[in-house]
Amino acid sequence: MKILKIIFANALRHKLRTTLTILGIAIAVIAFGVLRTVVTVWDSSVDAAAANRLITRQAVSFIFPLPYAYKEKIKNVEGVKEVSFANWFGGVYKDKNNFFTRICVDADTYFDVLPEFIISPEELENFKKERNACVIGQEIAVQYNLKLGDQMVLEGDIFPGQWEFVVRGIYKPKNKNTDDTQMLFHWDYINERMKAEAPLRAGSVGWYIVQIENPNDAAEVSEKIDALFKNSSAETKTETEKAFTQGFVAASSAIITAMNFMSFVIIGIIMLVLANTMIMAARERTREYAVLKTLGFSAFHIIGLILGESLVIALIGGGIGIALTYPIVAGFEQAMPKGFFPFFYIEPITTILALSAAIIIGILASIFPIQRALKTNIVDGFRFVG
C-alpha cells in the first residue's frame, strides 16, 4: 500500500506537468477514438453484408445498367432462392445538403431479400399496392419529422423532373449496423415515366440482389449467373454482397489507410510526450532511487515505482479520453451532413484499442527512465545534482 501511495504521490508531485500530460493523453485518445470510429464505421458496412446474398452488376462498371429481363433468367439458376433489384435514383429532397440514399426497388421482393429492414405487414402491403408510395428508414422519419401519409417531393437529376411520393411505410433496422437512412420506392413508378419520356432508358435496373439457398454455394452460383450472360451486350459480374461492398470501401482505401496511420501516429506522439515527462520525473528522483536502493529495495521495486507512475498517468489520461470520446463522437455525428454515415457509433473494439494504447503508452514511456534508474549506481545517484 505504501508503494501505491508513493506512486500516486509521485504522479501528483508536479501537478501542472502531470495535468498537462494527462490532458495531452486524453486529447490523443479522443483523436484516436474518433478516427478509429470513422474507420470502423466504414468497415462495418462490409460486416453488415449478408452471407446468403449475391450482387449481380454490369461487368464493365456499376454505373452501367442491366436489362430488367435478366431477372427471370437469374431466378431460374439452380441454388437461387429469390431475386430482387434496385436502381440508384439520386435526386434532391428540399435541399442539396439533405443527403440520404434514395433508390427505386422491386417492391414485390425487396423486403423479402433484405429481412434486416423491418416493416410491418400492413405498411408493406400499403407500399406494394400504391405506385408512388415510398418506405423510409426510421432515422429519416425522425430527422425530417415525417410520418405515414406525408408527401415527399424529389427533384430528379439522374431521372429529371419532379417526383412525388407518399410515405406508406417506416422501416426499423434489425441490427445496429443496418442502414436506417434509406428512402425506397417503386422501380415501376420510375420506369413507367421513363417509357414515356426517355424510352431508351426504360427497362433497365442498376443491380440485382440474389438471395441464394446456401451461402457455401456462392462462388458456384455466381459463376452460373455470369455464364448466362457471357458474350451478351451486357455481361454481368456477380459477387457476394460483402465483396461488392468491399469494392466501394476500397475506393476510399487511401483515405482510410491515411486515417488508420494517423490514429497510430497520434498515439506515437503522445507516447513521446509521456516518455519525456517520465524521464524528467525519474531524473529528478535519482537521489530518492539511490536512497531506496541503499535501504535494500530491489530493481523490481524501482521498476514498479516508475512503471506504476507512468501507468497511472497514462490510464487517467486514457480514461478521461475514452469518457470524453462518447459525447464528442455524438457531437461529431450531429455536425456531419445528415446521412453521410448511415450509422455512427463507437465500436467496443475502439474502446478496447484506446485503453490498450493507453496501457502500451504507459509501459513504453517508462522503459528509458527505468533503464536509466537501474543503470545509475547508488554512489552516482547520491552525487547527482538535478
Binding site: 501511495k5 508513493i6 530518492e288 536512497v291 541503499t294 535501504l295 535494500g296 529495495f297 530491489s298
Partner: protein, 225 residues
Amino acid sequence: MSSIITVQNVSKSYWRNKIEIPVLNNISINVEQGEFLALMGPSGSGKTTLLNLIAGIDKPSAGEIIINGTVISSLGESALAKWRANNVGFVFQFYNLIPVLTAFENVELPLLLTKLSKAERKKQVETALTLVGLGDRMHHAPKQLSGGQEQRVAIARAIVTDPVIIVADEPTGDLDRSSAEEILILLGRLNKEFQKTIIMVTHDPHAAESANIIKHIDKGDLVGA
C-alpha cells in the same frame, strides 16, 4: 571484544575518461562491536568512499570487507541489497527522506522489506520515533520539519530495523550548531545505551569528539589514530 568490521588491504579506484583515479590505497582497519569510529580527512581523501564500501553500497577494486562474518565484498547486487536491509542503518548529510511520505512512513520504509505485520511495524516505528524525540511529529511531512528534526527522522529510519552497524556520512554537515549537538548526543546514546556500532564520516573535529576512536584518511591512506 571481537571485530565486527574487518577491512583487509582494500583499494578502490574510479575510472574517468579511461583514466584510473585511485581513491583508497591498501586500507586495513578493524572495528570492534559497540565502537563509535569517526573517519576524518580533507575533501577527496577517500573517507566517504571507505564508508560506502563498509556499508555495502560500493565495491572495492581489491581487498576484502567482512562484516559480522559475512564477506560483503564478494556478494552480488541482489544479495548485497538484502544484506544492507538487514544489517546497516544509514544516516546521510542531507537526510534523504522521501518528501511525499510522512515521518512515520519514511521510518516504516525499511520495514516494508521485512515480514513484520502492520501492527508490528507500527510498534517499531513509534518506538524509533519516540527514541529520537519525535513521537509527536509522526504524521508530519518532511517539509513541515526543521533540518534537525528531519535528521532525527533519518536516524529513526536507520535504527528501526535494529541493524548491526550504523553508518553516518557528515550527519551534522547541514545543521546549525544546536541541531548538530542534538544529533551527536543522539548518536552517542545509540552507541552507549544500545551498544550500536557506528562509523561516522565528518569534517568537524567537534563532531568527531563524540566518537571513541578517530581515524584520519589523507589521499587514500590511513594516516593515524
